[in-house]
Each structure stands twice: as C-alpha cells, then as structure tokens.
Subunit: 313 residues, 2 copies
C-alpha cells in the first residue's frame, strides 16, 4: 500500500492509460479486474458512446475504474455530465487547464488526477486542487510536452515540486522500468503502449501487430509546430517528413494531418495512411496478450528487479 | 562488486564522463581518488596536451583512470600513441566505428569501452571486441544519437542485445537515478553534467554557475542536420533557432556553428555567444561542489532509494 494505491483504492500502483481508440470498457474492466486502475479513453468517444462504455464497464467489474478526459475536447461539458451521472470513481484530465473542471468533479465526489509534462504544470495542477499527478516523459506515445523532458529527468523534478501521489508515465512497459520509476520518486506508474498490444484493447489488430513488431528507433516525436505527437514511422509519417523537407508551414502540416487520421490508423487498421500514436517503448513489446498476463509479468519483473538491487560496497 | 567494477577495478560502479573542455587531470584524478573511474576528455586536447594531462593524472592518483577518445578526432593516431605510451588503463571510445582502433588498444593491454545510442550499435561494438558498453540516452548533454531513444527505453534494449558490462548514461545525477538505471538492467552509470559543476572540473566558472542555476526545459537537442547536440539555451541557441526559422540549410547551420564555439562557451565562459553542451538533468543540479561531495551524495541517495523499494503487495 502507498499513497497512490490508497488514493485510487487499487491493489497495485499501476494505471492503465486511457488512450484514444484503444481503451474502451473491455480494456478498462479487464485492467480493474487485474488489480490496477482501468481507464476508459473518452477522447475518441461522443458523449452517448462514453455513456455506454461507462455502463458496460460497471457491469464487467465491481472495482474502481476511471475515465481519461482531454480538456480540449469540444463537447467537454457533456462528457463531464456523463461521468458524473455514471458515478465514475476517478477522472484523469489531460491536455488543458485543470482549473476549469477540477472543482466540479471533486464536488461530485470524484478523485481527480491530472497529466503533466513539467514540474511547473504539476504545481499549477496542485494549486487547482487535483488529488494526484501523472507526469509523462518525452518517450511517451501520442501528444507530448514541448520541453521534451524525459521520464528519467521529469520524475525527480515533479517529485520535488509537489507533495501529491505521483504516477510516472513514458517508457514504462516492464516491471524493471516500474521499479526504476519508483526509484526516481514516483509512487507508481501509468502504462499505455503495453496495453495497446493487449487482447482487450479496442485497437485494430493490424495496429496491435505493428506495435508488437516495432523495433528501436521506429517512433519519432514530430508535428511540433501543430501539437507535438509521438508516432510509429509509416507512410503518413513519411508524408510529414516530406512536408518538412519542402519547408511546409504549420498551416500546411495541419491540413496534411486533416481529420480522422488517428481513427483510420489505430481503429480501422490502415497502417500506411493512418496516424499511429505509440510510445518509444514499443521496441520492448513483442506480443499481444491478455491484460491479466501483462499484469502478472509486471509483478514478477518488478520483484525480480527489486531483489537484484544490492548495496554499492 | 559487479561486472563493471571488476572490469574497471574500481570501488563504485560509476564512470565520470570524459567531456570536452571540462575533464582534465584534476577532475579525473579527483574522481579516481573518490573510488569511481576518473576520465580525461581528450576531444578538446592536442596530443601533447593530452600527454601532460595523463602524466599529471598519474602523479595525482595511483588508482585506475581512463581517457575518452572521440574516434572522429582528426589526429586520432597520435592521440592513441600518447594513450599507449602513457599506459592508460582504460579507454572510452565514442562518435565513430569501434572496429578501427579496438584491436590496437587491446593489444596494448588497455580495457576498452564504447559509447552507443542504440542496441544495434552496441551489437557492432561487441562484435568489434570491446570490453564494455556505455549506452547514452536522448537526455544526455553534448552529441547525441539520431533515434532520440531515452535512457528509460535504451538501457533494457541494450541489456537484451549484449552480454557485456553495461553503464547507463543520460539523465543521471543522483543516487536515485543510479538505482533506476540498475533496475533497468545496467551494471552502473556514467555521469557527465553533475561533474561539470564540480570544483575540480576545468569548465569556466561562468559555465559551472549556469549549470547549477539551470531549470527544467532549459536545454534542447538541436542542430540535427549537422550533428545532433544538446545545449543550454542561450544567445547562440537563439541564433540557431532564428536560422531554422528562416529555413537555413545544413551548410548555413554548419557555418553559423563555426569553429571554437564550444571552447568559447564552456572553457572561456562566454555564456551568450558560446556553445554550452549540457544534459537535461542540469535542472536537478543546484550547486558547484567537490567531486568527493558528489560521490558521497550519490552513495547516500542510492542507499536511501534502495531501502525505499518495497514489494508491491
């Protein structure tokens, strides 16, 4: 037990990241049933779709679960209505100002965590009244901070800045990395990419297979002029690279990205034209397995690494 | 004792990085006398200057020390002559192909480690016959790999690829990060930035102070079209940014960089016009202290972090 497991009322200090197009009720409930915090990713759901996922998740587990809410979501008020109506125990907010919605969520009895990429934002989130912090390093998949601070450097700086329960994210897919994150000062971890390549993830099987077969150097942080995002290199990425090569403006890049590209890649399985958001740690993921297997491995690897730690002299 | 301390014949599994303009005989001998591997950075030395540093280092310590050799150094053969004549126990090669010089160094009885930024290069170095590997993540200062793999993701991939003694570098300035690196699979660490801000470093006092007062987000990896390098943001960095803004070619960037800019910044203390190579972890460094103090802190922090590690449930 530690401050993070206490806060979230879970057995192991692990949060399954709520990711667009990958994290529906099946992944979230399987994660919660495995003793970690399962999280529905609402960023790719209309409010009525989110309502269904919340209802199904509650049917599939009696344990706590959460919903991830990108605060830039166009219909954010209706998302939050559904979350409050559905009595969701935990909300993880990201990509926006936590001051706007934290009070309303907390008034409804919801535990609120906010995702940050710097100690400065962690302090702002703490001032906004959140209950816990998730700090996400440069190696993480999807949208990412502009300062490019890696998990190794970020965790100790956030730990020094705020006194709240803290989960580290970015580059974590094994129990060894989990121990590393805790050594750096975190109370636990948030894991995304590893759960994309799970049986219960709603990602297209093509995308899961691409994650399982990705090697080192196969992702890159790009589109910094629009919103920095870490992608698996593919046909779409090559178009982005070509656009940079001819000196494209932010406007041209935005129009190249267009709408629906993440859905096309991650949910519909178009590995060439789609946008495939994934973390650098994909290079360490080699198979598609059930959530329970992933959690079993994390626990065994953590304990193996912990017992390996020796005094220096 | 582990494979790295055995290989290098040192007390603690820590290598002080041999850095241009910062790592002369004073830093190297102080590091060796503190029980870690002190390393002279030969990349900023003419062969006759290196000879003097080797001789002075041997006067100042009876313990093992090393020399870092960037393999792209123009007069590399004469550098290696001096190292062999000076009976230097350890050579750390970087920035080049380890096949060219490893055999000659090993024939002279020298222990050879090679610095890599990927598992693929680690395998090539192992095939070239090196005795150990240093893998350096994206957060490290100075010159850097093109794939931008962070320490968190790099160490486990290199560990899985080669079976040699392994030191992790990039983002490590505290004992907590040292424990994290070992949890990820390393046998020890190489530390650079923290030793720049040491009393014995030959960096200009202005540069040491700038490192000690740097905050999060104050470094960035840039000049990728020339050679990727992580810099402290300053006047020179702003010129680079402006050059990118007007679509400068690699040729223009190279000419903007010019010659002698690293010396101007790091050794002569021109914080505005000089090139200031430093790691992202500078944000966690807050003072300029003697090497012995740095090593004492590392050991105490490591042990504190180790004792903090608990079973998960």
């Amino acid at each position: 037990m530690n401050s993070l497991t206490d806060l979230l009322n879970i057995k192991y200090p692990v949060i399954q990241a709520g990711m667009v197009w990958c994290s529906g009720w099946e992944l979230a409930s399987a994660s919660s049933n495995a003793g970690i915090l399962g999280v529905i990713g609402s960023g790719s759901m209309y409010p009525e779709v989110l309502r269904q996922h919340i209802a199904k998740c509650k049917e599939a587990t009696d344990l706590p679960f959460g919903v991830n809410v990108p605060l830039l979501y166009p219909d954010i008020e209706r998302q939050i209505d559904e979350i409050i109506l559905g009595k969701v125990p935990v909300v993880i907010t990201s990509a926006g100002n936590p001051r706007t919605h934290t009070a309303r969520l907390k008034d409804a009895g919801i535990t609120v965590l906010h995702v940050v990429s710097s100690a400065k934002f962690a302090e702002k989130a703490a001032a906004a009244g959140v209950d816990g912090i998730i700090c996400e390093g440069f190696e993480a998949g999807g949208h990412n901070g502009r300062e490019e601070t890696t998990t190794m450097c970020l965790v100790p700086q956030v730990r020094a800045a705020v006194d709240l329960p803290l989960a580290a994210a970015g580059g974590i897919a094994t129990g060894g990395a989990m121990l590393a994150a805790i050594a750096l000062g975190a109370d636990g971890v948030q894991i995304g990419s590893r759960f994309v390549a799970s049986t219960e993830s709603s990602a297209h099987l093509n995308f899961k297979s691409a994650v399982a077969s990705a090697g080192e150097g196969d992702t890159l942080l790009t589109l910094k002029e629009v919103t920095p995002v870490r992608l698996l290199k593919n046909g779409f990425y090559e178009s982005v690279r070509a656009a940079y090569g001819r000196g494209a403006t932010a406007e041209e890049l935005r129009s190249l990205l267009g709408k629906g590209r993440a859905k096309k890649g991650m949910f519909e399985g178009d590995l060439n034209e789609g946008e495939l958001e994934i973390g650098q740690v994909a290079g360490l993921i080699g198979d598609v397995v059930p959530v329970a297997t992933i959690v079993d491995r994390l626990l065994a690897e953590y304990e193996e690494a912990r017992l390996r730690m020796r005094p220096l002299a």
